[in-house]
């Protein structure tokens, strides 16, 4: 199989080089005379001279032009040829006397080929008069008048094909346009009603191979009046001086290539006329006229068609530029709409998604994916979510510029073979790290309406004696090979639209970042104010409280004996109240001081932190006769003081919520995948599971102060500290079964960067 393919490739490469312009054959509807200068003697002639002039080729060789045409016709021509003014003669009418008064009138065109050999082409004609300039003018005027300024490119082309068909009477006139790949789209057609329409079909590049294209450029109008007519040989076959076949590139009468004829036969075309549409030196398209039966178009009329082609095409190409401009404007409008949506929506991604069709139309894509951080949104025809995620991974590995685009993703990223139907074409817009906008286009084979079914429209590859002939069937296959795994190409204007959208998104992101920074500054300011407030409040609140406490006590000390039982109790209540207030202030201050932002994470020996907590609790541990056991504890990335505070609060709670049996508290730690898990286990009163979450909320208490003193802040402080370390804290317990508090400290410290784009 591989061998076969490479053999075919080789043949095709040879085909590419085929010299179809050098030939010794012409079409039968005219004759060619190859002249020597300066005497204009005949050195080569087509062998049909006998049927047209009644003279054999052998007889003609060596004769001068005057021997066929009267010298009064030839003299002025000779002058112009000597002066190098072929344009002044072409075209001209020449009369050849056959016998007596019997004349044949020819349309005559002189030209020089690339080797500077002078060639005269003669075409017998019935009309003696030339079409006047006014007729040309009229023709062009009618066509152009029929077009309003606002007509679209397609409407315009439609008028051209209608006009050409009226002028020439062909069964079918089509206007092709070639794309970047030289595939041809039929964009306008005028035809006999009973024929099958070809409008909208696309023909592969290989239908008109490169050598043929070059000829179309040199020879803007080509007539094959009878696709089945036998070809006429030149005599002699080789030019006598060069001893080479003649270069007939600019020849009107040059014989069509066998391949082209085969193509016409396959399409059941008897006669064809092709007018080249050339823009900026390249073949833009063709006007192709087909007739089912042989059909001759007089030279004058062909010239009129060519003229029409040129005049209207100038306008047409201007219109095409306008259409490009219009497309650009249309994209601009979509872009403006998208940017508006993005800026007015609180979340610009939502804004983008609000106009899904617009987002696709912006680049003419069938699918798109938005990836912002962990968010992945798909719209239209896209690969699956996981395929897109892998694709993004791959993209991250590439050094991408502002924008990355390809029309054949699978040739760069083999996984794309799996989803070529939706994403052979890709535009990737990297916006910031982890942020991408992707557009997808399907494989071109999925999208295009092929001209004809290749499997029965064309013959099988034709090989004869090592000689390769271009076979339409094979060329189609080859074409399929070249476009397989490709999408339609992205137009520069579409890429530009994507880039401009990126600019807008970056601006929006930057602006939002600015706003966030402003907010952060405000927050920082108010945070600093709050801290100051907490400090002042705690101090300034404590003073009057102390004052109340002290004076109430002074009262009791000095006048205790004079007070009755009620008064003594009142004083106790006052003292208790003040004391609670003082504890509360201390705790609030402690809570507000757990500064997440400024926690100093360092490698901390958690055993030391625990020891400090135990030292602070020494008196209470003794009072409660608590037994505390500790497993080996690790060093962790933490703020030592805060970690100590966590231990102190948890062990303090274990001491506080004890049963009648002396407290037994066990502290241990174990390594998890990404964190250290600490536990503080007690044999206390336990906690009803329904309160598990509640206990970590600030000021939430489960008991009256008569039962257990405290402000309900200890665990809230613990939670705030553990949150600040990006860990978790929770409890497992049952009433009467003791409690185990767990908390985690991430290995390697907390993720300090909390910003989110």
């Amino acid at each position: 199989m591989a061998n076969l393919v490479s053999q075919q490739d080789q043949h095709l490469q040879e085909l590419e080089k085929l010299a179809i312009h050098t030939t010794s054959q012409i079409q039968a509807y005219g004759m060619v005379l190859v002249l020597a200068e300066p005497d204009l003697s005949i050195v080569q002639t087509s062998t049909n001279c006998h049927s047209l002039l009644g003279i054999s080729a052998q007889q003609l060789l060596g004769e001068s032009l005057e021997s066929i045409f009267d010298s009064f016709q030839i003299e002025p021509i000779k002058e112009q040829i000597t002066a190098g003014n072929l344009d002044f003669i072409n075209p001209t009418k020449l009369w050849a006397r056959l016998d007596g008064d019997n004349y044949t009138v020819f349309d005559a065109v002189f030209h020089r080929n690339a080797e500077n050999i002078l060639i005269l082409e003669l075409e017998p004609t019935d009309s003696v008069d030339s079409i006047s300039f006014l007729s040309f003018y009229h023709l062009a005027k009618v066509s152009i008048n029929e077009l309003g300024a606002s007509a679209s490119l397609e409407e315009f082309c439609q008028v051209i094909v209608k006009e050409v068909r009226q002028l020439t009477g062909f069964d079918r006139v089509m206007l092709y346009r070639f794309d970047q790949y030289n595939h041809g789209d039929v964009i306008a057609e005028d035809k006999r009603a009973d024929l099958e329409p070809y409008l909208g079909l696309r023909y592969p590049e290989s239908d008109i191979p490169q050598p043929a294209r070059r000829l179309f450029i040199h020879n803007p109008i080509r007539l094959i009046p009878d696709a089945k007519a036998p070809v006429v040989e030149l005599y002699p076959a080789l030019h006598p001086s060069t001893e080479q076949p003649l270069d007939l590139t600019q020849s009107i009468l040059r014989s069509a290539s066998p391949c082209h004829l085969e193509y016409l036969h396959n399409m059941k075309v008897g006669a064809s006329l092709t007018i080249s549409l050339i823009k900026d030196g390249a073949l833009w398209g063709l006007i192709a006229c087909h007739h089912l039966t042989p059909k001759h178009v007089p030279y004058e009329l062909r010239k009129a068609c060519e003229f029409l082609g040129r005049v209207v095409f100038a306008d047409l190409s201007a219109r095409e530029d306008t259409q490009d401009y219009d497309y650009r404007m249309a994209l601009k409008e979509i872009q403006t709409r998208l940017v508006d949506e993005m800026t007015t929506s609180p979340d610009f991604i939502e804004g983008l998604m609000a106009d899904r069709q617009g987002l696709l139309d912006l680049t003419g894509a069938q699918g798109a994916a938005l990836c912002f951080g962990d968010r992945l949104l798909l719209l239209g025809q896209t690969p699956s979510e996981s395929e897109v995620k892998y694709l993004l991974q791959w993209l991250k590995g590439q050094a991408l510029d502002d924008v990355f685009f390809t029309q054949s993703l699978a040739s760069l990223y083999s996984d794309a073979l799996g989803f070529k139907e939706v994403a052979s074409g890709l535009i990737a817009l990297p916006i910031a790290e982890r942020n991408y906008l992707l557009w997808f286009r399907p494989e071109v084979l999925q999208t295009v309406n092929w001209g004809g079914d290749p499997s029965h429209a064309f013959e099988i590859v034709a090989l004869n004696n090592q000689q390769v002939r271009l076979s339409p069937r094979k060329s189609f296959e080859r074409w399929k090979e070249t476009v397989r795994l490709n999408s339609l190409p992205w137009k520069p204007v579409e890429i530009r639209a994507a880039l401009e959208l990126k600019k807008a998104i970056v601006n929006i992101i930057l602006r939002q970042a600015d706003e966030l920074a402003e907010l952060a500054r405000d927050l920082e300011r108010s945070n600093a104010d709050l801290k100051k407030f907490a400090y002042v409040a705690s101090h300034d609140l404590q003073e009057p409280l102390n004052q109340v406490a002290n004076y109430v006590q002074l009262l009791e000390m000095r006048y205790g004996e004079q007070l009755d039982e009620d008064a003594a109790e009142f004083i106790n209540f006052a003292v208790d109240g003040v004391s609670l207030m003082q504890t509360l202030i201390d705790d609030v201050l402690a809570y507000s001081k757990v500064d997440v932002q400024n926690a100093e994470l360092a490698l901390t020996d958690s055993h030391q932190a625990l020891d400090r907590a135990l030292a602070n609790l020494r008196r209470r541990i003794l009072e409660n006769q608590a037994r505390i056991t500790v497993d080996p504890l690790p060093a962790v990335m933490a703020d030592g003081t805060q970690l100590m505070q966590v231990f102190q609060n948890l062990i303090g709670n274990a001491l506080k919520f004890r049963t009648k049996t002396p407290p037994e508290i066990h502290v241990s730690a174990q390594r998890l995948d990404k964190a250290w898990l600490f536990s503080v286990q007690d044999n206390g009163i336990g906690i009803d599971p329904q309160f598990f979450d509640r206990i970590f909320v600030i000021f939430q208490r489960l008991h009256t102060r008569d039962e257990y003193s405290g402000t309900g802040m200890g665990l809230a402080i613990c939670k705030k500290i553990i949150d600040g370390h990006r860990g978790q804290i929770w409890v497992e317990s049952e009433l009467g079964q003791g409690s185990t508090f767990f908390f985690t400290i991430p290995v390697g410290g907390a993720e300090r960067d909390r910003r989110r784009v």
Partner: protein, 148 residues
Amino acid sequence: MTVAEYEQPKVILLVEDSKADIRLVQEVLKSSTVAHDLRVVRDGLAAMDYLYQRNDHLDAPRPNLIVLDLNLPKKDGREVLAEIKTNPDLKRIPVVVLTTSHHEEDIQCSYELHVNCYITKSRNLKDLFKLVQGIESFWLETVTLPHD
């Protein structure tokens, strides 16, 4: 040490803006065994005037002990402390900071300014009694201070 000197009541300068706290200290000192002469100023500037014997305090006796609150009007207690401790004439007078604040920074800052002792005011009256008596007995009886 002469008898006269011994009998000389110790001068304590209390720098405190709260009337209630002043009264409380006075109350506590009533039960004192040390002969003392309590002088009170209500703000930082007045404290400096007293120590420099100027304005209203031309005849002010030099204190044997300064009890200083940190949060004072006009001139902050920290500034007063800093000025005393950098003045060669005054720096040897023992200064006890007695304050409600138990902020780490305040304690740190006071010791850096060479306070002799930092005491947090107790919330319990009995503790306060112990405290003031403790200050008296330690700084005025136990400690041997340099002579001027």
